[in-house]
Assembly symmetry: C2
Homo-oligomer: 326 residues x 2
């Protein structure tokens, strides 16, 4: 099997590549070839005996998507995109990468006429407040409050139409906030959800800019990769026409996140969280979805962690080699 990953140099792209190399197969078929594309060169995966092509460039550029599709990869993980903050500050770039890039990919597939499996990472940013207090049901409307969310929602609609017409077998998965994100703190408004766990576990101080009562839905990077792999295995029959669906996660308050950290790493580690309320971040976060019901995804077999404790444990195992900085 030949697999194409767009956005392969990103955090999820790297982890997905590692997982595919480790598994050696997808949907029961051996992985023989990987095409990894991104705006910067993805790393060549270690321990893979198949063919690897590393491509760089802008998916929306003329001819770029056609070139990637020329060898007709059977499975495509379309992860590439400009993140939320950048899509908001740079209008043109956001639409160019997140909308035109996706459309170019879909059009290249249509031109090649071979019906690959396409797994697209959408986001819960397709939803915008106000939300039903009981959580966001699977049939809740698309009312994004960011350009990023708009671009993801549009890409979902395109994917569903191309799927309906039999051009591809598509599935769009709306990822919840990925927590704990490995690596350095970034400027994303959502960064603190990971920071208040990651930094204390690494012996560093973390800033909490919102109230302890803020509620949000999280899934680990490991779960996100699991969603992608599971999505690739779903049949057209199982999915039906509604191919875009919210992924499950663990719905907790910030206080519950901190309690979990205390249980797993102790009060001394949790004491590295410093409260420093930030009005702007508080206001941004207030527009985000709190509880995602994701009943359909669960019934289709998508699995997230069952507690925030498990999310922290996954981070300690996958990123810290099992060790906590006391």
């Amino acid at each position: 099997m030949h697999i194409l990953i767009t956005g392969a140099a990103g955090m999820i792209g790297r982890k997905l590549t590692q997982r595919l190399v480790k598994d050696g197969k997808l949907n029961g078929e051996p992985v023989e070839r990987l095409t990894l594309t991104d705006v910067v060169a993805a790393e060549r995966p270690a321990g893979f005996n198949g063919k690897v092509d590393i491509a760089t460039g802008d998916l929306a550029a003329s001819g770029a998507a056609e070139k990637l599709i020329a060898a007709k990869p059977e499975a495509i993980f379309h992860l590439a995109g400009v993140v939320s903050g950048e899509a908001e500050t740079n209008f043109e770039k956001g639409y160019h990468v997140n909308l035109d890039g996706t459309r170019a990919l879909l059009e290249a597939i249509r031109a090649a006429a071979y019906k690959p499996k396409v797994v697209f990472t959408s986001s819960i940013a397709v939803y915008g407040a106000p939300f039903p207090p009981a959580g966001i049901p699977d049939d809740f409307h698309l009312t994004p409050l960011t350009s990023y969310g708009t671009q993801k929602a549009i890409s979902e609609l395109l994917l569903a139409d191309y799927n309906r017409r039999g051009i591809l077998d598509g599935v769009g998965i709306r990822l919840p906030t990925i927590c704990v994100r490995p690596g350095k703190p970034n400027k994303a408004a959502s960064g603190f959800f990971s920071g208040i766990i990651r930094e204390p576990l690494a012996g560093q101080e973390a800033v909490l800019p919102v109230a302890d009562t803020v509620r949000h839905t999280h899934a680990s990077p490991r779960s996100a990769v699991g969603f992608l792999i599971h999505a690739a295995g779903l049949t057209r029959d199982a999915l039906g026409p509604r191919i875009n669906l919210a992924m499950p996660g663990v719905c907790v308050t910030v206080a519950e996140q901190i309690d979990a950290l205390k249980r797993i790493a102790g009060a001394k580690v949790a004491a590295r969280i410093r409260r420093e309320p930030d009005e702007l971040i508080t206001r941004i976060v207030a527009g985000w979805s709190e509880r995602i019901n994701a009943e359909r995804a669960r019934s289709l077999g998508f699995k997230a962690e069952s507690s925030f404790d498990d999310i922290i444990r996954a981070h300690i195992e996958d990123e810290l080699g099992g060790k906590i900085a006391n």
Copy 2:
């Protein structure tokens, strides 16, 4: 006030133009100039003393939208589009006209930086079966089952993002089936909803291809124009961020349509309906929405007819000069 109408040569475009000329004003301001654009030349409206520009061409063609926006029309009614059937049979044309055309218009407005009012005619085709039996609520998700519905849903999302960013004051109205459509029978799958009223009233036979139990939501052409005018008057505050909304209509079965025709025109007229079941049309119609709740639109002051009798009366008044062929 300078008003631009795209799709001005179409049925709704012509009726909107007539209404604006008759009213002489929009939102309390005198209508001084009309720019009417379509793929074919719109008729010059009779009895209008202001300036009229008739333009023809493809809105998505390079520079076309910029040219229409150059004079900065304060109100824009964006009605232009390829209809459902054509968007389904001609994939490229549907996306070119319904998506690229809309995007070109929005981008031209962004480039001109002057924040006009933009009223966009969307459609209940943004919804796809299965539906809640109690009717489609305002927060029901977008799951179109046609390329036309997909293009309308995407245009709605774009409009909302441009609105949110303050580039324009937008409102998208999801029209129910317009009934009774004047003119000759067309090949649209929905054509019979109008045909079974229009033809008998004109002394001609009409074919009913579906069961009497088929339920659907209708509004008259007069109401559709009323929706457009009302939408243009809604403030940003009244609308909030959710600017795309389903319009009200009269929800009836085909049997109830026929009963209304009998009440208004007599059994002899209604006997001109010939039942000739068509499997394809029956299957297509089964995927369409039956009941649209449209609570938000009603609370914002949008008004449709209150019975199907009123819809028939509007047709007799507006199209038949009050006369029925007995």
